[in-house]
């Protein structure tokens, strides 16, 4: 699951650094804007059957690859 998520992230952020540094802050590093975030939520729903509503968690709870993985795992 983690690998697939990292592939998705790389695709959305357009930078392979997300696979190398799992604690990189995607918002501060300008890797993910609100549009990308929406795409991420859809991809999570389609790939893992996990629905996260746009307002459910704050951006700070989803701003690194590791945090995103944890959020998905806690819902699987």
């Amino acid at each position: 699951m983690e690998e697939r998520l990292l592939d998705i992230l790389e695709d959305i952020c357009g930078d392979e650094i997300v696979k190398e540094n799992l604690d990189i802050n995607l918002v501060e590093e300008d890797l993910m804007d609100s549009l990308d975030y929406t795409e991420l939520l859809i991809a999570i729903e389609e790939n893992f059957n996990v629905v996260i509503a746009p307002s459910e968690v704050t951006r700070e709870q989803m701003d690194t690859p590791n945090k995103i993985i944890a959020q998905i795992k806690s819902r699987m």
Binding site: I42, A53, P54, E56
Partner: protein
């Protein structure tokens, strides 16, 4: 008594803050006392306006009833879009009615009371999150406290129900509360300085130098109005946040140095943040998800552009059904769309975006586009254009 405008208000807040402070340092819940203070301030603010007060009361009860009925409907029928849109529309109807009546001048002041625009966000947010399955119960006390919470009732910042409830039910350690109280006081003082000194100065500059004919006056008007608007609204927001802190509520920040924004997207993460993030989470994101799922547009970029324009168009309408507010919303929608297209398509941008000179030029352009936006928002732009035609 006007909230945050009359001297007597600040005296009353200072007095009301003393028992809150005592409760706070004893680590006792402040919420029941805070709710009582809120009711007193709402009554004082609406003194002599019984009709408006009745509408306010009716509105809150109506929004509460909608959340309660929808909770039950949601349990019974599940994630059903039809019911969801019905209840969402119902929760918005008072505001829509108020705005439409405004077009007629609303001589009987139907649905006219302070804070309706801002309170509607809170009611709608709860309905939307019930649909999402995130909210499973709504406590009457917490609902009415959130709606009426006096520091934020007139003009925000727009808090969210789950965040607000968390603050209400958390025991704040003594040391933390003391620090919060201190920060709160500082924010109130800073807000007063913003509003009473800085905003007033820019307002005077605008009055004395901005009303002549010719381009120079128009430019002076544009820049001084922009700074006036910022210091006035950011000053109010700081005071509202500061007073919230004293009552143990960490109302979210509304401004974060908007004039250093390097592009328009950055600007909307710094200006009236609680409003733009509300729109992002409850309108823009949801619209985009619909577009992508139903493949409404061939290219993602087209979808995003349409999404930005609709989102900001609605924001314009929310400000008021007036030509310049709608124009202001569409202006920002188009700017966001153009920014998105430029940043995704331009090789020049991708190559230079981290270089200092490039960021400086970006900042300079953004600053002036933002100021021009405020010029539209002020109504002066359409007025001057009207005169030309």
């Amino acid at each position: 008594m006007g909230l945050f405008t009359d001297f007597s208000f600040f005296v009353c807040v200072a007095i009301a803050a003393v028992p809150a402070y005592i409760l706070g340092i004893k680590e006792k819940p402040i919420k029941y006392y805070g709710f009582m203070v809120t009711i007193v301030f709402v009554l004082l603010a609406m003194w002599g306006k019984p009709v408006a007060l009745a509408y306010l009361f009716g509105f809150c009860v109506f929004e509460y009833a909608m959340s309660q009925i929808y909770l039950r409907v949601r349990v019974r029928f599940g994630r059903n879009a039809g019911w969801y849109y019905l209840f969402l529309t119902l929760s918005l109807i008072p505001l829509i009615g108020n705005k439409l009546l405004g077009l007629t001048g609303n001589p009987y002041h139907i649905l006219g009371f302070l804070g309706i625009s801002y309170m509607t966000f809170k009611g709608a947010q709860i309905i939307i999150e019930i649909y999402d399955g995130i909210i499973k119960e709504v406590s009457a006390f917490e609902f009415f406290y959130l709606m009426l919470f006096f520091p934020a009732i007139t003009s925000g910042p727009i808090d969210r129900s789950r965040r607000f409830s968390e603050d209400l039910n958390r025991v704040i350690p003594k040391a933390e509360y003391q620090e919060m109280f201190g920060t709160g006081l500082f924010k109130v003082c800073m807000g007063m300085f913003y509003k009473m000194v800085l905003a007033t100065s820019f307002y005077q500059a605008m009055l004395w130098l901005g009303y002549g004919s010719g381009l120079k006056s128009a430019l002076i008007y544009m820049y001084s109005y922009g700074f006036y608007l910022f210091f006035d609204f950011a000053g109010y927001s700081l005071m509202a946040i500061g007073v919230s802190y004293m009552f143990g509520i960490k109302t979210p920040e509304n401004f974060n140095k908007p004039f250093i924004s390097k592009d328009i997207k950055d600007f909307w993460d710094r200006w009236h943040i609680t409003l733009s993030h509300w729109f992002r989470d409850f309108i823009f994101s949801r619209l985009m998800m619909k577009f992508i799922k139903h493949k409404c547009f061939k290219s993602k970029l087209t979808g995003a552009s349409v999404g930005f324009i609709i989102n900001m168009g609605i924001m314009g309408l929310w400000h008021g059904l007036t030509s310049y507010y709608i124009l202001y919303g569409l202006y920002h929608g188009v700017l966001l769309a153009l920014t998105e297209i430029y940043q995704k398509k331009s090789k020049f941008y991708k190559k230079h975006k981290k270089e200092k000179w490039f960021i400086f030029i970006e900042w300079f352009i953004t600053f002036n586009l933002v100021m021009f936006g405020f010029f539209i928002f002020s109504g002066r732009f359409t007025e001057l254009m009207g005169r030309l035609i």
